[in-house]
């Protein structure tokens, strides 16, 4: 190629990509309405369930894809990311340079294939405590805390949500516009739980499916 033409093309490409250049990483945070949840206990006031202390939030995002005009332009080679309130440094999705995309797709939790593939490594290592020992399968999400409404010891609430077998498969696909900060907003979830009747959910089932659906629609993207 003629050197002059080549630099013109390069400038053109650079110019075009400047227009659509997207963030190379997305930070993931957890909120309850306008309150950001931090690694230590955070107090949240709810309408239905009163005062709730959140102590721990951990969840899987899997099969992350970047999409432009409906076509996948990049698929994460890491099958899943374990996001933990106590480990904000790890709560980042990173992409290669120079990609342009208009949407982010991912799965909240893990799909059935990951659940039947034996012992996996990295963020999916069962040593992270996000795998059920008594009944094979990943826990998509663990949210733990306390509220006066709970009659469990220490007024604890414990939502360990998982399940990959129909009819109780509870991971869900999420699609969001491009942006810089992915937020899981627990506001609706904390209104949807029933701490008085069911302070703990530890098995796949209808309640896990219901709460996972609430959580899957509680993600939003900030610019």
């Amino acid at each position: 190629m003629i050197p002059g033409l080549r630099s013109v093309v390069l400038v053109l490409i650079a110019g075009l990509s400047c227009v659509r250049l997207q963030a190379q990483s997305i930070r993931i945070t957890v909120r309850a309405g306008d309150k950001e949840l931090l690694s230590d206990s955070t107090e949240v006031n709810t309408r239905v369930n009163g005062h709730i202390t959140i102590r721990s939030v951990r969840f899987y995002l899997s099969d992350v894809r970047l999409v432009r005009s409906g076509a996948v332009v990049w698929r994460d080679s890491q099958p899943a990311h374990l996001i933990d309130l106590r480990d904000p440094a790890h709560a980042v999705l990173s992409f290669p340079e120079g990609l342009s995309y208009d949407s982010l797709y991912f799965r909240f939790g893990t799909d059935s294939l990951l659940n039947v593939s034996g012992a996996l490594g990295g963020d999916l290592d069962p040593a992270h405590g996000m795998y059920w020992a008594w009944n094979s399968g990943y826990i998509h999400c663990k949210i733990e805390g306390a509220t006066e409404r709970s009659n469990a010891p220490h007024h604890a609430i414990e939502y360990h949500l998982g399940g990959y077998l129909p009819p109780h498969a509870s991971s869900r696909e999420v699609r969001l516009p491009a942006g810089n900060e992915l937020v899981l907003d627990l506001a609706e979830f904390l209104e949807a739980i029933k701490p008085a009747e069911q302070p703990a959910v530890n098995t796949p089932g209808l309640e896990a499916v219901r709460l996972c659906e609430v959580l899957a629609r509680s993600f939003r993207m900030l610019p």
């Binding site: 034996g118 069962p126 040593a127």
Partner: protein, 342 residues
């Protein structure tokens, strides 16, 4: 450019080596169906199997370091818990069900009496975490292994470096368990034409094929299905069986069909170990079972056997005993590893 083919050659050579040693460590017996275990995600090596063997026999897996996998899965009873109706845990705790015999696990699609475990790799997690068994966490086990004198080196030999992860731990135990292949019973030798059954065994085999083979299917002597075999529920120890896993009411009181290989060694029988002898088991199937809407279809038609036929059937069941398997040093307590010397 020249380096790429060399790298490729080395990779091909290494995978061939791994494949070769895999084949030596795990030989599917002739006539067995294809395995279901995903060896491609866990190629066997001698070092990995030996690491898994050490872990299988090491009581550090339990919270108070008193029991190992072997405590309830003894090689001398085909890795079952002879004479114990239900599994024993730390601090005199008694579990819910009978510890099953362990062999031919690479052919088994689901584990536990209720099929709760979907892959051999993750099976070990259950007894480790179970309150009435080892009552420990995987995290705590890994911490102990990292601090031990023995294991960092064993992990390095098996995995290439000393990192001790949950995945490596589980895959090593699974690798060892796949090598527990039992196919050297009198029955197998008869099938291979190396010996002939006695007339009594022959008649027992005929009765077996007529009445038992639908579920306890040859050559593995199970169809790996879940079934209600008409046991009256134990009201003191409620156990809904497979329902606990699927939450489907039709699965209530269904339990896994166990293999009958080595059945001579693995008494007592049934998911709760309620029968102590094969005579009691045969008595159950020939008149003791409780009919109900969910009784297995195969058992709806009553099985009638004369006293002589019952004895013949038992004589056949004893041909499934594989003493070479039970006394195989390769599966036994790794004394040389734990205590040095021979």
């Amino acid at each position: 450019m020249k380096r790429i083919p060399i790298v490729l050659l080395v990779a091909v050579f290494c995978s061939l080596l791994a494949w070769n040693s895999s084949q030596e460590l795990f030989k599917p017996p002739p006539g067995f169906p294809p395995v279901v275990y995903s060896f491609e995600t866990n190629p066997l090596t001698e070092a990995k199997v030996q690491l898994g063997r050490a872990l299988f026999y090491d009581p550090l897996l339990s919270r108070d370091s008193t029991i190992s996998c072997e405590s309830c899965h003894s090689p001398y009873s085909a890795f079952a818990h002879t004479d114990h109706a239900r599994s024993h845990g730390i601090e005199n705790r008694i579990g819910l069900r009978n510890a099953p015999a362990l062999f031919n696990l690479a052919w088994q699609p689901e584990f536990m009496w209720d099929g709760a475990i979907n892959h051999l790799d993750v099976q070990a997690l259950a007894p480790i975490a179970q309150h009435d068994e080892m009552d420990n966490t995987l995290d705590a086990v890994l911490l102990r292994l990292r601090r031990s004198r023995l294991y960092p080196e064993l992990f390095r030999t098996a995995w290439g470096d000393t990192a001790i992860t949950g995945q490596r731990f589980l895959k090593a135990i699974a690798a060892f368990m796949t090598t527990l292949v039992s196919a050297e019973a009198r029955y197998d030798k008869m099938r291979r034409g190396e010996l002939a059954f006695t007339p009594q065994e022959e008649n027992g085999y005929r009765l077996f094929r007529q009445h038992c083979n639908a579920c306890h299917r040859e050559p593995l002597f199970t169809n790996y299905a879940f079934a209600n075999n008409g046991l009256p529920p134990d009201t003191l120890v409620p156990d809904a069986g497979r329902y606990r896993v699927t939450r489907v009411s039709a699965d209530s009181l269904q339990f896994k069909v166990p293999s009958l290989r080595n059945v001579e060694y693995s008494y007592p029988y049934m998911h709760d170990g309620r029968f102590r002898t094969l005579t009691e088991v045969i008595r159950h199937y020939t008149g003791g079972l409780q009919a109900g809407p969910r009784l297995s279809a195969e058992l709806r038609k009553p099985i009638t056997l004369s006293p002589e036929e019952k004895v013949d059937l038992q004589a056949f069941l004893l041909t499934l005993s594989d003493s070479a398997f039970v006394f195989n040093r390769a599966h036994a307590f790794p004394r040389e590893l734990f205590f040095g010397g021979k």
